[in-house]
């Protein structure tokens, strides 16, 4: 299917993008009752997901407002408080290769570096990656008017659901599409958002994402007239280590069927003092494995504990007819990533 014809404009500042009359991609994809289709103005960064949606006929904007000319929005730099600021237009390749990220936030470097293909990583931005829409094949099919597109049902719950959620899947069984998000939530990242009036808000990424029970038609709390300008990583505590791994059908260039990020803080004697364990491709939003996190605190990490932690991560899982196989994969992957983050894998 060919893309619809559209106008092109270029924002020179984030405020100009926010004031461009753009709506969110989620709103632009919903049917307008009684109205003509294709009237939306939509913001564009790398454009990877937008082009996919437009080629499928799921999105037909009147105008794209390109954000790529905004000066400095692709910069990655250390802030005065020791945190890292990753401009929203930084490419996944920049994120994967940046020495400060490799040094301070290995989980993010590994998640970004393993995403998609080199060709896509050079173009896709971290901001666009976090805002991309889910990859559920029913959601991506023009023939299926699912809940998330304003229709009446989730086709995945009783359909072909082998790549779908094993947690929190009662309303809509998509998995969150961003692998970088798995690592960023584990790292306690915030997302910086500006509006046309110049107001800035910086919610925790974990709280920015929206579960289907709250609103099934959007994956995040981005509002009309807002532009994502950066991802902010807090300064890590002294003895912090992290890791991310994925398991896919194919070794390269495939969506993960499971991915896991672990961030560990440890005492001088090596005991875990704080753990973040987040599961990706597991639920509609990145899923914290809280039972696992709790059982790690105060312990020395070894293989036996890692295996127990992997099984604990499955607590509250509700697999669907075709995705029970994900449970042992997550259990094994949590153990493996935990050992890797602890320097034993």
């Amino acid at each position: 299917m060919a893309m619809n014809r559209f106008e092109w404009a270029s924002a020179r500042t984030a405020a100009e993008g926010a004031a461009s009359g753009a709506t969110t991609v989620a709103d632009a994809m919903l049917p307008v009752p009684g109205g003509p289709p294709g009237q939306a103005v939509v913001l564009k960064a790398g454009g990877i997901d937008l082009l996919d949606l437009m080629k499928e006929g799921l999105l037909a904007p009147r105008r794209l407002v390109d954000l790529r000319a905004i000066a400095g929005l692709d910069a990655i730099a250390q802030e005065s408080d020791g945190g890292l600021r990753i401009g929203a237009l930084a490419s996944l390749q920049q994120v994967a290769e940046h020495p400060l990220i490799a040094d301070r936030a290995r989980a993010l470097a590994e998640a970004a570096g393993g995403s998609a293909s080199p060709q896509i990583r050079h173009v896709a931005t971290i901001g666009g990656n976090l805002l991309q829409r889910p990859r559920c094949w029913y959601f991506r099919s023009i023939a299926h008017r699912c809940l998330r597109k304003g229709g009446g049902k989730c086709f995945a719950v009783h359909g072909e659901n082998q790549y779908h959620a094993i947690f929190a899947n009662e309303v809509c069984a998509v998995v969150h599409p961003s692998t970088a998000a798995t690592a960023l939530v584990a790292l306690g990242a915030r997302i910086e958002i500006v509006n046309a009036g110049g107001d800035v808000r910086r919610p925790l990424l974990d709280e920015f994402f929206v579960a289907p029970e709250t609103d099934v038609q959007r994956e995040n709390d981005l509002k009309e007239g807002e532009v994502v300008t950066a991802v902010l990583l807090p300064a890590p505590a002294a003895a912090t280590t992290s890791a991310h791994m994925r398991q896919s059908d194919k070794q390269a260039f495939d969506w993960p069927i499971a991915d896991v990020a672990v961030v560990l803080e440890r005492d001088a004697d090596g005991r875990c003092s704080k753990a973040s364990v987040v599961l990706g491709a597991a639920a509609p939003v990145p899923r914290r494995a809280r039972a696992t996190e709790e059982m790690l605190v105060g312990e020395m990490i070894d293989e036996k504990l890692a295996r127990e932690a992997g099984h604990a991560a499955l607590e509250a899982s509700t697999p669907l007819a075709r995705n029970h196989y994900k449970q042992p994969i997550f259990a094994a992957l949590v153990a493996r990533v935990l050992l890797r983050a602890a320097g034993q894998g």
Binding site: F6, S10, D66, A69, S117
Partner: protein
Amino acid sequence: MRFSVGVHGLRARMSRRSFLKGTSAATAGLAALETALTPAGAAAADDPQVFGPEPVSITLRVNGAARTVAVEPCATLAEVLRGPLNLTGTKIACNRGSCSACTVLLDGVPVASCSMLALDVGERAITTIEGLANGDVLHPVQAAFIEHDALQCGFCTPGMVLSSAALLERNPQPTAEDVKAAISGHVCRCGTYPHVVDAVLAAAQARRG
């Protein structure tokens, strides 16, 4: 007076008048590049410029030459290369960025040209498979692909060759793992991967002399 679209320095110069009239670039594009016109509404000069949906005249740097072409904003780079620019060595297979047959280099970096709008290219230099050889002298990667029988149907080959050539520019002494990572985006249904790895390693050696 001329205007530039501020897209990574994209030089889509066109007159405000030709834009406001919505004149198709077939009649106005090239002329607008040469004709300085005074805008009627100079007060609006600070507003972002809006182009399309009619064709816009842009100049792309392709294989060392400046090529001016009229493109609709919805045209992908792959469509413009294969259509008006007649560079059909760039293949469109999945058209979703999933197979990398459409790979071209932008300033030496591999990108999926099916998943990028032509208006996104700006001033970056495009290298397609047609631009890799030096006259009649094949690029070492091309010669090695022939020598090592690294292709069958050939549909993935232009992209494979470009990704491999880009690898050798940034890493002249790659390992087999480096080569596999560099071509990890490419789908080859004929299964030529082992010969591609052999060819690229041989090309690296040939380049070092």
